[in-house]
């Protein structure tokens, strides 16, 4: 059944206002889109990160659903433990009938997913727990003061890869987490962007309803980290998809597919924009538009083209 906005607005939002995320942060919107995609009862776990810190400042919590935080590196292990305990309780007959369809969702930032939590994520995926792991990817350790992570793209200015006379920012390309997770051969993997809420919610619905582990990587433009205006993130998320910096991918039972704008671009129905369209409105890439850094933009474009061609090939398109 299609998801309609006029039905959604009458439902309770799982994350209340009054949380202390930055003004104009898309992460609460991502949480809303993921959790409202189905009507199942849900339990959420959180890795340490912006979302965890800012939604649960004592004595307040913004969460309307059962929620747990354990440590930075083990959000996936925590949700796996909850899911196992829940199955044991069902066996003992201690869970009411209307609660048996409870779904388990873990949220982590890119620090808690790409770097620190990768081993626990890999373990939980391998053990085959029935859960969804959502990575809201703001491409850096934004909560602690904008340090680089392995999700930070080439050329980005962060406090640990500062731009100056000798450096143009981060020198290494981002880690391809989608492929790492795909190597676990789990039933459902997707990348999503919050500006295309219909695509994100359809993917979340599939991911939550699938039997077995599922993973979603959602781009989350960061106001202080990417140095953008508070009302800009929707346009930047859109530009990331249209430049193929952030392709919308879906991997269902090993079958790769492109969705949304990415599918249109691969089919030739939409123009693939140059990567400058994505870089130009962000302060963290401002230095790239100086004359001496002209080659770096070409480097980024080559990197984007390389990974876009790889995803296209995997989805069954010929170059």
């Amino acid at each position: 059944m299609a998801i309609l906005l006029k039905d959604l607005v009458n439902k309770n939002v799982p994350l209340n206002g009054g949380h202390r995320m930055c003004p104009g942060c898309p992460t609460p919107v991502i949480v809303k889109q993921i959790l409202m995609s189905t009507d199942h009862p849900k339990v959420a776990a959180n890795a340490t990160g912006c979302l965890e810190v800012a939604t649960t400042i004592y004595p307040y919590t913004a969460w309307n659903i059962p929620w747990i935080h354990n440590a930075f590196e083990n959000a996936a292990a925590t949700i796996a433990g909850i899911e196992s305990a829940f199955r044991a309780l069902i066996k003992r007959g201690e869970i009411a009938e209307d609660r048996k369809q409870t779904k388990f969702i873990a949220f982590g930032g890119d620090g808690g997913t790409y770097d620190i939590g990768l081993q626990s994520l890999s373990g939980a995926l391998e053990r085959g727990h029935n859960f969804l792991y959502v990575c809201y990817d703001n491409e850096g350790y934004m909560n602690t003061g904008i340090q680089r992570s392995s999700a930070t793209p080439i050329g980005a200015n962060t406090t640990t890869t500062p731009v100056g006379k000798v450096s143009y920012g981060k020198k290494e390309p981002r880690k391809d987490l989608i492929s790492i997770v795909a190597a676990h051969h789990i039933p459902y993997i997707a990348s999503a962007a919050p500006h295309n809420w219909m695509d994100t919610m359809n993917k979340a619905k599939k991911a939550i309803e699938v039997n077995g582990p599922a993973f979603m990587d959602v781009i989350s433009p960061c106001v202080p980290g990417w140095k953008i205006r508070t009302d800009e993130w929707k346009g930047i998320s859109e530009a990331a998809v249209k430049t193929c910096f952030w392709p919308l991918i879906e991997i269902e039972n090993g079958e790769w597919r492109l969705t949304g704008e990415s599918k249109k671009i691969a089919d030739g129905k939409m123009e693939k924009l140059p990567v400058e369209e994505f870089l130009k409105s962000q302060g963290r890439f401002k230095h790239l538009f100086k004359l001496e850094n002209k080659d770096v933009i070409k480097l980024i474009q080559d990197d984007v083209d390389k990974s876009w061609n790889y995803y296209k090939r995997m989805a069954g398109y010929n170059d």
Binding site: G17, H19, N64
Partner: protein, 95 residues
């Protein structure tokens, strides 16, 4: 709405939070510099602002957009940039 300050005398034993989603008692509206205003004549109730508001500050009553929750709106202006009919405008807030 006035914020309720809690002292040690009225915090539950063990520091537990007993009410789900009680962050609605915390006022983030004071962060705001610019305030969104709705022109009801132009609004077509597409609810794009509801979808893209990070602070759940769009008030909807009986499938109609009726205004904003100024207690929690941080004034980011996302609703203005997604509104297809330009029914929402930002203005400087007089405190």
């Amino acid at each position: 709405m006035k914020e309720i300050k809690k002292s040690w005398k009225n915090i539950p034993i063990g520091g537990n939070i007993l009410e789900a989603g009680n962050s609605k008692n915390y006022i983030t509206g004071t962060w705001r510099t610019f305030i969104p205003r709705l022109d009801k004549e132009k609004c077509v109730n597409c609810f794009q602002c509801w979808m893209f508001c990070p602070d759940n500050s769009i008030s909807i009553v009986e499938n109609k957009m009726v205004g904003f929750d100024y207690d929690h709106c941080k004034g980011c202006g996302m609703c203005v940039s997604v509104c297809p009919t330009k029914a929402i405008t930002m203005e400087k807030e007089e405190k």
